[in-house]
Structure formats: C-alpha cells, structure tokens
Symmetry: C2
Subunit: 148 residues, 2 copies
DNA sequence: ATCCAATTTAGATTTAGTCTCAATTAAATG
DNA sequence: CATTTAATTGAGACTAAATCTAAATTGGAT
C-alpha cells in the first residue's frame, strides 16, 4: 500500500544487500514500474520512458528488469504471446488466474483457504514467500459448451 | 477413416475439433514432446529433431508449439532465462514449485488440500481445468540466512 | 574534492522468431 | 483409388528482440 520514494524499500534494500549502486536509472525504473497497473514487457517499458523524455537506454532497461524480478518488485505474468510479460507487485490486490485455453479469457479468483495452505507449505520447506503465481488452464463455461 | 493405428488423444481430438489436419510433422512433434521429461524450448526441440534426422523445419516447430499449448499437451514452465520454456503434461506426476529469487533453486511440492480447493474454485466458475501451474517465489532457507 | 569500480549510453552485433511463396500433402469427394 | 483443393510445410529471407562493446559517466567510499 505504501510506496515511499525516499524511504528504504524492497528494491533499495535489495541493491544494498548485493552491494549494487542506487543509480538514477534504477530508481527511476523502480518508481515507474511501481506505478504501472497493467502488464508490460521490456519494450513497452522502454517506450513509456521515451514518452517521459527520460533518457534511459534500452540496454539499461534490459539489465534492470532481472534486478526488479529478483527483488520481487515485479513478477513474470500471464503471457499470452511469445514475449515475457511482467507486472508490478506493489500495492496490488492479490489475485490468481483461470485461463481459457480456447478463447484466452482470463478469470481472476482469490481463495483464502489456498493462501493458508500455501503458507503451511512455505513453513514446511523453510521458504520465505515474496509473491506467488497460481494459474489454472482449461476451458471456460462457454467454450466447454461449444465443444459439443 | 483414420489411417493411423494410434488411439485418439488430447492432441488429435483437438486438431479434429478445430478442423486442422493431422500431418506427419504434427504427429511427430506430439509424440516427441510426450516423451520428453525435462524442460525444453523451441530451439532445443528443433535440435533434438535434427539429431533424430527428422527433417522438420524450424518454422513448423514454431507453428506447432501454440497448438500443443492450446491442447494442453505442454505448458509454459518455470522460465529462468529470457526464453519461453515448456514441459510436457503427459503422464507426469503432478507437482508445483517454490522458486528461490536469489539462487534460482526450485523446490517441488504437492498439496492435496490445495488441489481440493482448486477444484472448488473451478466448480464455482464453471471452469474445466486441464492443468495448472502454481509457483511461489521467495527466498529458500539458505538464502534467507545469508541475507544477514 | 578525488578516485575508482560500477554503471550507463549508443549503436553494432547476435540471436530468436516470423513471414513468404512455391511445393507438397491430408482428406473430402465421386 | 484417382481427382481435387485448401491446408500445411520447407527453405531461406526478413524482422524483431536481446545482448554486447568500448568509451563516457557516475555513485559513493575515502
């Protein structure tokens, strides 16, 4: 819920832990993706920087994305095409996805029970979860019928 | 009348539903990926065909992968690099993944309870699940400690 | 304020994936 | 089972995505 700009955050602590520099470009990209609502890929992110007149090179975007992924600021998302898609984790109300293999419709769902058992699994394996991604693929109601 | 001795399967029924032809290449690729155990990408699949001396063009591999995905024969998998990775769904003992954001270790898990609630969700949304993919990202036991 | 290793930039290069069109083939039809 | 035709394939040209390189810049330690 909180997205403080100058306070330490998930990303700045991550950089510090790794002994990496907090450059202008890294901070800019962190703030940019934190504000992004929908899905994006490396290129659409680069283009939105250009619209901002932020002079950050394409290569820097590609080099920063793995850092944002590893720090859990963004995650890989439901990709329908060939490219990798990402979405911001910040302040997002969590949901998971049912994806129709036929019409590609995406239905969002949420289950407290599943989340509870997830936590149990993490405890069992001594794993500290940052985020998760749970998708079920199959056929939605209308495509099931159309199958005849 | 079918010229093949093969039984109908998920892929052949899919092709039939869509009015697509069951070509030599499609059958070959279906059988190939069904036998594959680990992860693969478009290129490693193409290379394994060349080792087989199967003369199937690169373009055909790229054109067939979406069909294998849509029919649920393969699914997109835990991709660590930039490329899309796939894995066969056939006859695989189902498991899900805990993925360490730091060392990229993958821990497999299985939970009957989670599967049960998944089924409930599907029922609620009138969704017929073909397969699912559930990943939790975070820090594994040893990376948690190393964080200091 | 200085210094140095890390990082960035711009563009060249490499690699991944798509497209085109002539040739081939599945399978529907008689 | 010969004919027909629309779908599919193969080969390679082409486009797009991602990486690399070397010179310039910068964070942050001293």
């Amino acid at each position: 819920m909180k997205t403080q700009t100058d306070m330490p955050n998930r990303f700045t602590s991550f950089l510090e832990d790794r002994g990496l520099k907090l450059t202008y470009e890294r901070r800019y990209l962190f703030e940019k993706v934190s504000r992004l609502k929908g899905h994006f890929n490396a290129d659409s992110l680069y283009e939105s920087l250009q619209r901002d007149k932020a002079r950050i090179a394409r290569g820097t975007v590609y080099r920063t994305i793995p850092l944002l992924l590893e720090s859990g600021v963004i995650q890989k998302s439901v990709g329908e095409g060939k490219r990798e898609f990402f979405e911001s984790q910040t302040g997002k109300e969590h949901h998971d996805h049912l994806v129709c293999l036929k019409c590609h419709k995406v239905i969002e769902f949420h289950s407290d029970e599943i989340e509870k058992f997830q936590d149990q699994i993490c405890e069992k394996y001594d794993f500290e979860m940052v985020f998760h991604d749970h998708r079920m693929y199959g056929h939605c109601g209308s495509c099931k019928e159309k199958k005849k």
